[in-house]
């Protein structure tokens, strides 16, 4: 299986317009690499347009587990040069990158932002002509590109055939023939191509059974496996896939999925089902979270379990709905009037979306409190590779949330008014204070149940502290620091409320210097921790707004410029 000279990894970018089949092409490549035993990570980055806007897939194929896309691309597939210009902020080419493009394109590569220093091979094909001639449709250009790339690089042939055949089952006979003819045309067009050195594909030593999944899919599947039998949601990017997945699966498990009339109704329907003892959840993004905040606080006041997922995107207001950010931490922690404690979890990577969804249902039921699970566009829509058994798939009868639910033998009286233990309204200051304590105590029952992820040295010269999707780039920065002779460690906090102060403080005490890494403008984690913990004297905040995933080079530059790690000995090629 393994070839001696196999490189550790390969990175591929595909850009086009919505409807060009960019994501489909990316998925075919990703699934075939994974079937060949390799790890693949695939970011999906979209423009805001409904149809026809720019669309890109960024793949990283590796012999080892990868949780983010690479800084630089080794191969670029361009359906239209004009679309590359619109992704200049997320795509960066290696100098020797292999490029496939269309010879019919009116925009010149230079005008599209192809760097002057690029010296790799540029393969220009009449994509449209080949697509029309063999695929009988302009839409088949992605298939022509697939043929060209897979033929030239010898892309995992057996696996690709199988993946392609499986995908084509969805098409009718004619479309299937046309698509396969377009793939063959792309391959034939480059038969005998000899010029220039070509990238070599990584190959796996063994073929572990791996699968690709997005954070949204993993979260939804874990919710079902945790007994969730009710979901209400409202369409919102980038959380809609959770609603769509549950809509397909819940009815087959005897559950209910409702597309609500608005975000508030979605939260209230979910709360009502929880009141009836059925494990339930709602999923949304920032704008929806804002609207749900009153209902979330009601759950805390009435002592009802409620699970709400917030797949973060760029805000405020409508922001950039299709792009990633981590700027809803304040909203999740404090988004309601009054003292309104809640449990806040944040997923660090795709598999963690599943792990924390499982925890969210357990904690909501045990603590009788609202649980907010934070995800991010990048984790939610991006695909990561997991061991085949890593996807939760339990369909046992659901356990429910029986305690205090309506339908049990005892009378249940609940209210959002301040109240006594029988649910009778009251309005004296002493009871209000006592109940505030009680509500906090419910949330505090979760303490310690979701430990932070800790890697690298415990006793470190450099400590990296992060939350959510900043996890993956911090892990790579850790390896970078170690390679430069710096003892480094990291901690990724997954339960932001209640905050396990003791555990985080104990870790902080062993760091000589600290960098808090997060993808928001205001430094929300930094400020939150500063208000609750003693941070080391040397504490720095590395933060920026979202809109594009982290590049390792950003962390490297920060750490070098602040003297936390030395410059690389030799410039990278």
């Amino acid at each position: 299986m393994s070839s001696p000279g196999s490189p550790p990894e390969l990175s591929i970018g595909i850009v086009g317009s919505g409807g060009d089949g960019v994501v489909l092409l990316g998925e075919l490549l990703a699934h075939s690499a994974v079937a060949a035993g390799l790890y693949c990570y695939m970011d999906k980055v979209f423009g805001p347009q409904i149809r026809g806007g720019e669309s890109s897939a960024i793949l990283r194929i590796s012999r080892e587990e990868v949780l983010r896309s690479a800084d630089e691309l080794d191969v670029l597939l361009v359906l239209q040069w004009a679309d590359l210009a619109r992704f200049s902020d997320v795509l960066s080419l290696a100098g020797n990158a292999l490029i496939f493009c269309s010879s019919e394109d009116e925009t010149s590569p230079a005008a599209a932002g192809l760097p002057a220093g690029h010296h790799g091979p540029v393969i220009s094909l009449p994509l449209k002509q080949l697509a029309l001639e063999h695929g009988r449709s302009k839409q088949a250009r992605n298939m022509v590109l697939l043929g060209a790339l897979s033929g030239l690089l010898d892309w995992y042939p057996e696996q690709l055939s199988a993946v392609l055949a499986r995908r084509m089952q969805r098409y009718d006979e004619r479309s299937r023939e046309h698509n396969l003819a377009a793939v063959a045309a792309g391959r034939d067009a480059l038969a005998g191509w000899q010029e220039g050195p070509l990238p070599v594909l990584p190959t796996a030593d063994a073929a572990p059974e791996l699968v690709l999944a997005s954070g949204n899919e993993l979260l939804a599947r874990a919710a079902l496996a945790s007994g969730c039998r009710f979901m209400a949601g409202y369409p919102i990017t980038p959380a809609s896939e959770i609603l769509e997945y549950m809509n397909r699966r819940l009815p087959t498990l005897g559950g209910t999925c409702i597309q609500a009339e608005d975000e508030i109704a979605a939260a209230c329907l979910t709360l009502g089902a929880g009141l009836g003892g059925v494990r339930s959840m709602s999923a949304t993004s920032g704008p929806g979270m804002t609207l749900k905040s009153e209902t979330i606080a009601l759950a805390g006041m009435a002592g009802l379990p409620l699970v709400v997922v917030d797949v973060q995107r760029c805000g405020p207001s409508t922001g950039i709905p299709t792009r990633t950010e981590q700027a809803d931490l304040y909203l999740a922690l404090h988004g309601a009037h009054g003292d309104s404690p809640r449990i806040v979890l944040a997923a660090a990577h795709q598999a963690d979306c599943a792990e924390l969804a499982t925890q969210a249902f357990e904690l909501a039921g045990r603590c009788h409190a609202p649980v907010i699970l934070l995800s991010e566009q990048q984790l939610a829509q991006g695909l990561a590779t997991l061991p085949a058994g890593g996807i939760p798939d339990n369909t046992e009868p659901p356990p429910g949330w029986p305690e205090r639910s309506i339908g049990s033998a005892a009378q249940v009286q609940l209210t959002g008014l301040e109240h006594d233990d029988k649910g009778r309204p009251l309005s004296d200051a002493a009871s209000h204070e006592a109940n505030a304590l009680l509500r906090q105590a419910r949330v505090d029952k979760a303490l310690g149940s979701v430990p932070a992820l800790q890697h690298g040295a415990l006793e470190a010269e450099l400590g990296l502290l992060c939350w959510g999707g900043s996890y993956s780039v911090c892990r790579e920065a850790l390896a970078l620091a170690a390679a430069r002779g710096v003892t480094a460690g990291m901690l990724c906090i997954r339960m932001l409320s209640p905050l396990d102060r003791e555990a985080v403080q104990a870790w902080l005490q062993r760091q000589q210097s600290l960098v808090i890494v997060e993808m928001n403008h205001s430094g929300q984690l930094h400020d939150y921790l500063r208000s609750r913990l003693d941070l080391p004297e040397i504490t720095m905040s590395l933060r920026r707004s979202g809109g594009r995933p982290w590049r390792l080079a950003e962390l490297e530059e920060f750490l070098v410029s602040h003297g936390l790690i030395p410059q690389a000995l030799e410039a990278r090629p």
Partner: protein
């Protein structure tokens, strides 16, 4: 008529003297007891307002939630616990103003949930502001000028939305109220009963009772056929008075 004692708990309501909601509470307890319901099989869900305190005065399950949101909470509960009778007890501000969007979609979803609106045409809890059902020209104590905006006609609204059971009652006519409540509870889909439940403190004084008694017209006494949607529309287009009874039943 049943006494309703099985459903009524010992808590003293916060309502003012002369409030129509006392009759609604008594009527609901009597209606449920008369139907032979067990308090453990009934859940009352409310929002915010004077009327929304009602669930806490009963031995049924109760949830006094947030302003305007009783309908989606009740729908979620009914879907989770279909064996329960789920009844929303709400006010006109709750249902026709802050939570108005949910009305249309609850009708569309048609869950077997019953909605009782205690319609007093005023925001009582906040002491006398105009509500969506306050008639134009009414002088509220909280405003410098009489109400300028037109008002919502709950019956026309529900008929236009396609609700399967639409009725109106008058709180001070207990026998008819209980009868209409029972029909609404027994209806197999989403049912709506608008209950004219006066607030003499903030709208109209005690004289409003006399005025309502004079101007209500019982539809069934007038031979109205509730199965006929065109007849329902005709009643609303040319009302002889304030209609009471079943306007429409699909």
């Amino acid at each position: 008529m049943s006494s309703g004692a099985l459903f009524r708990n010992a808590t003293e309501p916060v309502w003012c003297d002369g409030c129509g909601d006392f009759h609604v509470l008594d009527g609901l307890c009597a209606a449920l007891e008369g139907l032979g319901r067990d308090p453990r099989q009934v859940a009352l869900v409310s929002g915010i307002g004077c009327s929304s305190r009602l669930p806490g005065y009963t031995n049924a399950h109760g949830f006094n939630s947030i302003h305007g949101r009783a309908l989606p909470i009740a729908t979620g509960l009914k879907l989770a616990r279909p064996e329960l009778d789920v009844i929303v007890t709400a006010g006109d501000g709750d249902i026709f103003s802050i939570g108005a969007a949910h009305l249309m979609h609850t009708v569309r979803r048609n869950p077997p949930v019953t909605l009782f609106v205690m319609d007093n045409g005023v925001y009582g809890l906040t002491k006398g502001q105009q509500s969506p059902t306050t008639p134009a020209g009414t002088q509220m104590r909280t405003a410098a000028q009489p109400v300028q905006e037109g008002s919502v006609n709950p019956l026309s609204l529900m008929l236009s939305l396609g609700c399967g059971f639409i009725a109106q009652a008058y709180s001070a006519d207990p026998a008819r109220l209980v009868e209409l409540m029972q029909q609404a509870i027994e209806y197999p889909g989403f049912s709506f009963l608008n209950i004219l439940s006066p607030c003499p403190v903030f709208r109209g004084g005690m004289g409003i009772y006399k005025e309502l008694r004079r101007s209500t017209q019982d539809l069934q006494q007038g031979g109205h056929d509730p199965q006929d949607p065109r007849a329902a529309a005709a009643v609303l287009a040319d009302p002889a008075g304030i209609p009471v009874g079943v306007l429409y039943r699909r």
